[in-house]
Symmetry: C2
């Protein structure tokens, strides 16, 4: 049987009240006594029964998710997953709030972080915009004792406790190898469609992609990046234009959102061309395009996993508990037409 507070009290030769004071870091315990108790805790391998503790405390975990107000399928999906988690609040003892801030606007994000911090939630998850001010604001939250996880896009160099998202450099590298291998030894040009080089995840994907391409597939030449602003119309225009004036293009890597436009352009301009196409994010549009052969592979991050992982990690950090690392690693999903969920 696992030890309880009573066992600790007995082992340390103190009363239950004193054990309680130590466990919940309440004042009024002499240093030596505190040490006796802590020794007993270690010796017996005591771990607090979180379920019982939460019951006694009537604890709920107020969590805040800060998302960019972007109108694309991926963000909608992320939002939906958070709402699904909200629906489970009762059984998971969470009280989740979603706040939206203008996209790509570090100052707005910083202001929101300050507001959220004032409410002292049990944890904060945010889709980080990569800027020094944001990093500083996150660090302030962490120093105030508020667990923080970044979601989808990381904030390296900050003190955030955890990143719930894929390794975007690895994603770019993987895209490059798939494209290179699918093209056999062919020689030609590769078009790259991104959302914006201002967001870290897109920059990292490109970085990984370019690295593997340069090193392993020298016969393939990368054209300069087309920035589609994650907007289907812009993407359509850019891709249609590129295909129109360059018939050396044999492959396309779409590393951002707005794939609806890309797909439309392909159907209009490339029916008779053998193009190999790799895109990111599984949506209704990309799924259909994968099935009909317009797209050859889709790289995806599972928003549901990211949200559930973020919640698990925030709760664990709030309780000072360990997490199962392997469980919280967000994988890069690779979908061909055969393994769609």
């Amino acid at each position: 049987m696992r030890p309880t507070v009573h066992d600790i009290a007995a082992a340390a030769g103190v009363s239950l009240a004193t054990v309680d004071r130590v466990l919940n870091q309440r004042p009024g315990v002499r240093h030596v006594t505190r040490e006796k108790v802590e020794t007993a805790i270690r010796d017996l391998g005591y771990v607090r029964d979180v379920a019982a503790a939460n019951l006694a405390k009537g604890r709920v975990y107020p969590l805040t998710f800060i998302l960019p107000a972007s109108d694309n399928s991926f963000m909608h999906g992320l939002n939906a997953e958070i709402r699904a988690a909200i629906a489970r609040s009762a059984t998971e003892r969470t009280d989740i709030r979603i706040v939206e801030v203008p996209a790509f606007d570090p100052q707005a994000l910083v202001r929101e972080l300050e507001t959220v911090a004032a409410e002292k939630p049990s944890g904060v998850a945010l889709v980080a915009t990569d800027a020094p001010d944001v990093r500083a604001a996150v660090d302030r939250l962490v120093k105030d004792g508020i667990p923080v996880v970044t979601l989808v896009s990381d904030l390296t160099g900050s003190l955030r406790h955890h990143y719930a998202g894929v390794d975007n450099i690895a994603a770019g590298r993987t895209a490059a190898r798939l494209l290179g291998r699918f093209l056999g030894g062919a020689k030609g040009e590769i078009a790259i469609l991104a959302g914006s080089m201002l967001v870290r995840d897109h920059r990292e994907r490109l970085e990984g992609f370019a690295a593997v391409m340069a090193q392993e597939f020298p016969a393939l030449h990368l054209l300069s990046v087309l920035e589609g602003r994650d907007d289907p119309e812009v993407a359509h225009m850019l891709i249609a234009d590129a295909l129109g004036k360059n018939d050396g293009i044999i492959g396309i890597y779409s590393l951002g959102a707005g794939n609806r436009g890309l797909i439309r352009a392909l159907k209009e301009k490339a029916v008779d061309r053998a193009l190999t196409v790799i895109a990111h994010e599984l949506t209704a549009h990309t799924r259909a395009a994968l099935l009909d052969g317009t797209i050859d592979a889709i790289l995806n991050q599972d928003a549901g996993h990211e949200v559930r992982s973020a919640i698990r990690v925030l709760k664990a950090k709030a309780d000072g508990l360990a997490v199962i690392d392997a469980q919280e690693r967000i994988r890069l999903d690779i979908f061909l037409k055969d393994n769609l969920p």
Copy 2:
């Protein structure tokens, strides 16, 4: 605030004791009264606080995992993940036992199932051998009210509550497309190494593989399946032999375990040949082979995820609770050398 048993009692106009009798299906409640209580439960949307209930009951979940005694890395990994779960028993209220049975031996598995059933555990997870007797034995457990999940290899047509493993037909199809695309339009022969055609997961992988190959890559000809019994020595012998006497082989699909032997054969016999190789299961050996280029892609199922999922599902079923389907879907991981964890 979510409703408690007290609220139910008040709403139904009965006492706490009666609510308790209904909730825990104890006898001594008239039909009409039971209905009143059940109506109140539905109306208020009551859900039992599992944490509090488990605390009161001092509940632990005795779970039994039945595994084949196979000496290969995948099974060792699976075993390790179960032991990791055992280490978390205290906090997860589980009491997990592992029993091993001879591999590919339906009768031994049936006998073990009977023995396990007699112990009335809260749940049973098994790597199923696909045989009518096994199916019948599993169905008996289910009818006795014991939750059962199949692990890694399914038992379709049985009453098992859940399958914690990948879709093996999809895995085979994916392998075929990857291999076909990687080989460009080349013409040649494909060797297939399986463990045994007696296990469903291997049969299904082969089925999916052969289907896509036939339909989409007619230039590639499949050789007849080599059964390596998931044994590295046997696998080595078979592959070395095949490569020795057939130099039309340009690709290999290894859909079972025992890849250590395959890799050794490749390094001995195929240094000068351009073979494209796809294998299953990420282990220390296959990982190294992927990195050094001996293997081109690895399809993997995450044993840790499977074990954790099986445990979550068994606990939920034991409590009659719902599971988050998306969370329990085991994905097929595709690893290239760039996205290794």
